[in-house]
Amino acid sequence: MFSALIKRNSLYVATIFTGAFAFQAFFDATLTKWYENHNKGKLWHDVRGKFVEGAGDEDDE
């Protein structure tokens, strides 16, 4: 299966591009999750409720 991907250069390049794209999305999401959990209680979206009424919609962070 792996060799099938390497055989054609076009497929090989496409694999690397999609792989990189998928990896960075996953990597970023995982790390952001860890980072925000690590700093829980200090970030704006954690403390927002202490100062402002309402959950706030997309336009009003």
Partner: protein, 287 residues
């Protein structure tokens, strides 16, 4: 082997060595003597007392700012420091998503008037502020600022945390470091106040923070040290607005580069394995 080193150097070499030693000795004495002719009174007090290292909650490689503290600090800046200090590099929009919502920031901007385009006859016009406007300072220019502060210029606070040795620790120590009385024997120039953390000890800014000077929205007791901590955190954010993102990117960069490094070590070993382990045998041709 020992013979040559045990042999005495030639008289010429001996003389050369003695001359060199005498020259170096005399030169050093001269330099030391010259140095003793001037006295530099760079005492600890002239450098300013070094601040203690405080345990900021954003100290550390992966620690973000405390955003509730940024918001309280902004309130302190606005109600206290903004009477004298500008904050030129911060626009209202910078606060959005950091310490305020977009509508709050917009409302604060709209309370102020900014210069607008002139009308068709060239008369200057004013308009309410918007998110893209910068926070205005208290004085129109440096001369006005000096005139209002007995000749001393209150520095712009946007980058002050980066602009002082000790950063946050210095600022906090400075703001909370005004003793009731200057120590005995200290003579201050007129219009200045004693603060051991300020280099020289005589600062034109008096103590500005006193317990319960502001009233915090979240009910945090507004002690002097709480306000100093909050305004310092706010000013640290103002100087490094990229701080939280920077640390997250740093973490990502560390993970990626260290895995690539380990991978390269493994690849190197993998490729060199057969080369390092091979045995080269030479069979001499038999006659």
């Amino acid at each position: 082997m020992f013979k040559s080193s045990a042999r005495l150097a030639s008289p010429w070499a001996q003389r050369a060595m003695a001359t060199t030693a005498a020259t170096v000795g005399l030169g050093a004495s001269y330099v030391l003597y010259q140095d003793s002719m001037t006295a530099n009174a760079m005492t600890a007090s002239e450098h300013g007392l070094h601040p203690p290292a405080y345990g900021w909650s954003h100290n550390g490689m992966f620690e973000t700012f405390d955003h509730a503290s940024i918001r309280r600090g902004f309130q302190v800046y606005r109600e206290v420091c903004a009477a004298c200090h500008s904050l030129d590099r911060i626009a209202w929009r910078n606060l959005v998503g950091v310490s305020h919502t977009a509508s709050e920031a917009k409302a604060m901007a709209e309370e102020l008037e900014y210069d607008d385009e002139p009308d068709d006859e060239g008369n200057p016009r004013k308009r309410p502020g918007k998110l893209a406007d910068y926070i205005p300072g208290p004085y129109p220019n440096e001369q006005a600022a000096r005139a209002g502060n007995q000749g001393a210029l209150p520095p712009d606070l946007s980058l002050i945390v980066k602009a002082r040795h000790g950063g946050c620790d210095y600022l906090f120590a400075l703001l909370t470091g005004y003793p009731e009385e200057p120590p005995a024997g200290v003579v201050l120039p007129p219009g200045s106040n004693y603060n051991p953390y300020f280099p020289g000890g005589a600062i034109a800014m008096g103590r500005v923070l006193f317990d319960d000077l502001v009233e915090y929205e979240d009910g945090t007791p507004a002690t002097t040290s709480q306000m100093a901590k909050d305004v310092t955190t706010f000013l640290n954010w103002a100087a490094e607005p990229e701080h939280d993102d920077r640390k997250k990117w740093g973490l990502k960069a560390l993970i990626i580069t260290s895995s690539l490094f380990l991978l390269s070590v493994w690849v190197k070993k993998f490729k060199w394995q057969p080369i390092k382990n091979r045995k080269i045998v030479w069979n001499p041709p038999r006659k």
